[in-house]
């Protein structure tokens, strides 16, 4: 097994700060969602919420789980996982809006 260098305390705290702030931002975006409002007003908050979630997930993967030491193929696999989730959720929202129109 290889020896791994853990992320510095400063970077880890920075990641925590960004992720926590992003959580508050996502909560704020939730209250901006307007049921039955304009198309963009119903779609944009979901895109923001999922973009924030995937950014937080990527920060955890890279700095806390140590994916920055991984080979490109493994990084790509985890990135693909996140993309599938985000695209799936955003696509579902788009479908709901289109059916509703």
């Amino acid at each position: 097994m290889m020896e791994h260098k853990t992320v510095s305390a400063r970077t880890a705290t920075w990641v925590w700060g960004v992720a926590s702030t992003a959580t508050i931002l996502a909560l704020a975006a939730t209250f901006e969602q307007v049921p039955g409002g304009a198309l963009i007003a119903r779609f944009l908050p979901v895109v923001i919420i999922m973009a924030v979630a995937s950014t937080k997930a990527w920060l955890i993967l890279r700095f806390y789980l140590g994916l920055r030491n991984a080979q490109g193929s493994w990084t790509g696999l985890f990135a693909a996982f996140l993309i599938v989730i985000v695209v799936g959720v955003v696509f579902a929202q788009a479908a709901i809006i289109l059916i509703d129109q």
Partner: protein, 209 residues
């Protein structure tokens, strides 16, 4: 005759290779790059499979929502995004403590490592208490797993995640008792996975409307 000679030779050569393999070297190859990641490579096999399971749950949740968006929106009003948000920050903070535990063991500070692991576990416990309070409020309001498709998926996904938190607490206790570097890396990797999954579950179930 030549063929017969070959069939006799091959097993002999295989045995020779097995004997020649250096002792304790069985873990050095065949992990396909997982050996570059922290913790035992097998924890990454578990992490990948858990991510696939939860990813499928979230995609199913989104797909079912297309069929009944009004019902999902109405049921979602019973959830508290604030409680979910607080739980997210609790898990993120516990993840930070887990990183500090890893740093401590890296510097050979076992006591400090155990303190940070204790803080991680304590925050995990707070997460579970908040979750139980949420479940209690739902049950008091007459909402159960059978109430609607939304709540079936809500209890299933968040309950399965809560089970992983309980399992994570157990793992943190075990690695706290035997705090070797590989144990701490493996235990905290599991904990970060629990954190990562919640970061994706929270917006999909609580926030997207």
């Amino acid at each position: 005759m030549k063929g017969d000679k070959n069939t006799v030779d091959c097993p002999v050569r295989d045995v020779a290779v097995d004997i020649a393999a250096p002792e304790g070297d069985e873990d050095t190859g065949g992990w396909g790059g997982l050996e570059f990641l922290p913790g035992h490579p097998l924890i990454w096999v578990l992490i990948l499979s858990e991510l696939v399971v939860f990813g499928a749950f979230l995609l199913v949740f989104s797909a079912v929502r297309i069929m009944d968006p009004a019902g999902f929106a109405a049921d979602q009003l019973h959830l508290s995004p604030l409680a979910g948000g607080i739980n997210t920050i609790i898990l993120l903070t516990s993840g930070l403590c887990a990183v500090f535990a890893m740093r401590a063991v890296e510097h050979g500070k076992l006591l400090s490592c155990r303190v940070w692991l204790g803080a991680t576990a304590l925050l995990g416990l707070v997460f579970l208490i908040v979750k139980l309070l949420e479940y209690g409020a739902k049950i008091d309001a007459g909402i159960t797993i059978d109430t609607s498709t939304f709540f079936t998926l809500y209890f299933l996904i968040t309950g399965f995640h809560a089970l992983h938190v309980v399992l994570g607490l157990g793992i943190l206790c075990v690695v706290g008792i035997w705090p070797s570097r590989i144990n701490i890396e493996t235990g905290t990797a599991f904990w970060h996975m629990v954190d990562l999954i919640w970061v994706l579950v929270f917006p999909v179930i609580y926030l997207v409307r």
